[in-house]
């Protein structure tokens, strides 16, 4: 089923694609060895971790929620993995599985508080943002750093498949494909959008609102766990500050991708485009020998420019009397 908003989201994605093309063109002039296949894979490799967070953040934002704790949970899961492997003597595979479970459990905590006690996601995940990072710091006493993982485990984050493709890229693509199917091709995915538009309406329509909300946050937590495993394998170490600020990058990617922070509107492919725009910006600025501060400034400015540009377009099109054909694709009045 196509979403009722396909007309509007389509326009947004075209703008984003044009911006991405402009970025690629600009950086292939200014950047050293920017337009090479190796660099393309390098961009993919370094963006998998926050990319995974952005992917699982998409359904959360679709429901009108937010998960500020994602980066902290990544840090906690990385520490759980390191601790279980080094101090409990577990095999890295089992330690990874338990780190993934820890992520899901963290997400479950968020989900239960949000869905069962009907608390605002912003403030619940702000609390767990502190709690998860704090637990990671408490476990490591602020100084412990887990390193020396076996090569077979590091292969997941540093190895190559077929000689060129970074090993984590197929995992990322599999998650992206799975999530796209879940969000855009299943009744569960459609219910998220309904929930974002109007939680009361979704409840009256007989949708299992509470259960689906909890599932969305568990999914987000498990995504953070998976990102933590790849993060540790990629960098070869697990510290309590792993993933600091990643939740903001992830939210930025989702919003750039055309999702409404109020819920009900957004798509997985949009998030992927937003991610690509961010990742290329980061890499291109570094290869153009510009200081890393430019990345943050450009990201913030880009986010504001896209949002205010859209707001102005909406204002202008609201002044023009609408033709009946355009009315059928516009937002229902009364939604946020």
């Amino acid at each position: 089923m196509r979403t009722p908003l396909s007309g509007e989201t389509g326009r947004h994605e075209l703008v984003l694609m044009a911006f991405l093309a402009a970025e690629l063109l600009l950086f292939s002039f200014t950047g050293r060895r920017f337009a090479t296949a190796e660099n393309g894979f390098e961009i993919l490799r370094v963006s998998v971790e926050f990319g995974l967070l952005a992917l699982v953040m998409t359904p959360v934002i679709l429901t009108g929620g937010i998960d500020l704790s994602a980066g902290s949970l990544l840090g906690l899961c990385a520490i759980v993995l390191g601790k279980l492997w080094r101090d409990a003597g577990l095999d890295p595979g089992w330690a990874s599985a338990l780190a993934l479970a820890a992520g899901a459990a963290g997400g479950l905590l968020n989900g239960v508080l949000i869905a069962r006690l009907k608390l605002p996601p912003l403030i619940v995940t702000l609390g767990s943002f502190s709690l998860f990072r704090g637990l990671a710091e408490a476990i490591t006493q602020g100084v412990d750093n887990f390193t020396g993982f076996p090569d077979s485990f590091l292969l997941l984050g540093q190895g190559y498949i077929l000689g060129a493709i970074p090993a984590q890229v197929p995992i990322f693509l599999a998650v992206a494909a799975g999530l796209w199917l879940l969000v855009h091709r299943t009744p569960f995915g459609r219910s998220l959008r309904a929930l974002g538009y109007s939680p009361e309406g979704a409840r009256f329509a007989g949708l299992p609102v509470g259960r689906n909300l909890i599932l969305v946050y568990v999914l987000s937590g498990a995504g953070a766990g998976l990102a933590a495993i790849i993060y540790v394998a990629h960098l070869g170490q697990a510290k309590a500050d792993a993933g600091t600020g990643y939740e903001l990058l992830a939210i930025t990617a989702v919003v750039l991708g055309g999702a409404s922070i109020f819920g009900g509107k957004g798509s997985v492919h949009g998030t992927l485009l937003g991610l690509a725009a961010l990742a290329v910006l980061k890499n291109g600025i570094a290869l153009s020998d510009r200081p890393s501060e430019w990345v943050g400034m450009a990201t913030g400015a880009l986010l504001l420019a896209v949002l205010s540009g859209e707001a102005m377009l909406k204002k202008m099109s609201a002044r023009v009397p609408r033709s009946p054909t355009r009315d059928s694709t516009s937002m229902p009045s009364g939604s946020p």
Binding site: L117, I123, V124, Q141, I261
Partner: protein
């Protein structure tokens, strides 16, 4: 009728005050040196800027908005105040540069949120990153040094300077507390936070009030940055990181509803003090200090969960 209607649920703020008093009492028994002037005054001085930020955040949240860029604004205001001082400006000039910087940055947020009708969480997320990184690009980690002697503690010496910092923050908080109950301007904030559409139909202008909230937040941030900067011999451009979370946490613990329209400013003072005594308590009780963030998170979650349970119960009674 000028003042706010009576608080429908005073126990929410009251319970925070009780918990605060219990913790302070327990701290007094377990670590009496916490209340010695040598420890108490520096602690209160470090809390004063947080109280001002949390006060601004209180109005923003009551007005159903949020501002997560205050930490970055704080850093900009601190550095500009420091630069003004090291350039030899007199005190009114230093204060004016910090206040104007804060006002301008807050007004920028207000313009984007109220003028363009953008969600405040996204706008302030973007300005947080942009402001922080642009300051980093300018300073490249360099501190503002060579501050004149007249800058630290306003040139009054440590003990008198500490008194001034604490008194200024407390006095302003008290004035705003009384104003928030008595003045109709602040009642409009509650009205817009409860239901912006109803407020508009009642003849208020929600966009202007929202703009004012962010500008006021910036102004208070500028003042807080100045009060914080006088505590040190130089200004760190990385200052204020995480301040937004501290302020939001204090406001929420103080009983303010994150969905707007509900809360009292006196609860915020209790929330600020409760969260701020935590690190000191850990030090004095010889607990590992690394538990601070985890316990802070637990306090926030407990506070919001208490609100959720209360709401669920009162809903049950209505049915």
């Amino acid at each position: 009728m000028k003042s706010l209607p009576p608080n429908p649920w005073p126990w929410r703020e009251g319970s925070v005050v009780v918990i605060l008093l219990l913790s302070l009492g327990w701290l007094g028994l377990a670590a009496p040196s916490f209340f010695k002037p040598a420890a108490l005054w520096p602690w209160l001085t470090s809390v004063a800027p947080v109280l001002l930020i949390a006060t601004g955040m209180f109005f923003v949240i009551v007005g159903r908005q949020i501002d997560i860029s205050v930490g970055s604004q704080f850093a900009w205001c601190s550095v500009l105040a420091g630069e003004a001082a090291s350039a030899g400006w007199p005190w009114p000039g230093i204060l004016a540069s910090a206040l104007l910087a804060g006002l301008a940055l807050g007004a920028l947020n207000g313009l984007l949120v109220a003028g363009f009708k953008l969600p405040s969480i996204v706008v302030t997320l973007a300005t947080m990153v942009t402001l922080r990184e642009s300051l980093r690009a300018w300073r490249e980690g360099e501190f503002v040094r060579d501050l004149p002697d007249s800058f630290q503690w306003f040139g009054l010496g440590q003990s008198l300077g500490q008194c001034w910092v604490i008194a200024a923050a407390l006095l302003l908080w008290m004035i705003l507390w009384i104003a928030s109950v008595r003045l109709s301007v602040f009642r409009w904030v509650y009205a817009v936070g409860s239901n912006a559409e109803a407020a508009r139909l009642a003849g208020l202008r929600p966009a202007r009030i929202t703009f004012g909230l962010f500008a006021f937040m910036g102004l208070l941030t500028g003042l807080a940055a100045t009060l914080n900067a006088v505590r040190f011999t130089d200004v760190d451009p990385k200052t204020g990181a995480g301040l937004e979370l501290q302020a939001i946490a204090a406001v929420v613990v103080g009983g303010v509803s994150i969905s707007g329209g509900r809360g009292r400013l006196w609860g915020v003072l209790a929330g600020v003090l409760l969260l701020a005594c935590l690190p000191s308590a850990l030090v004095f009780l010889k607990w590992p200090p690394h538990w601070e963030k985890a316990i802070q998170g637990l306090i926030i979650l407990t506070a919001v969960a208490a609100e959720g349970v209360h709401r669920a119960r009162s809903r049950g009674r209505e049915d």
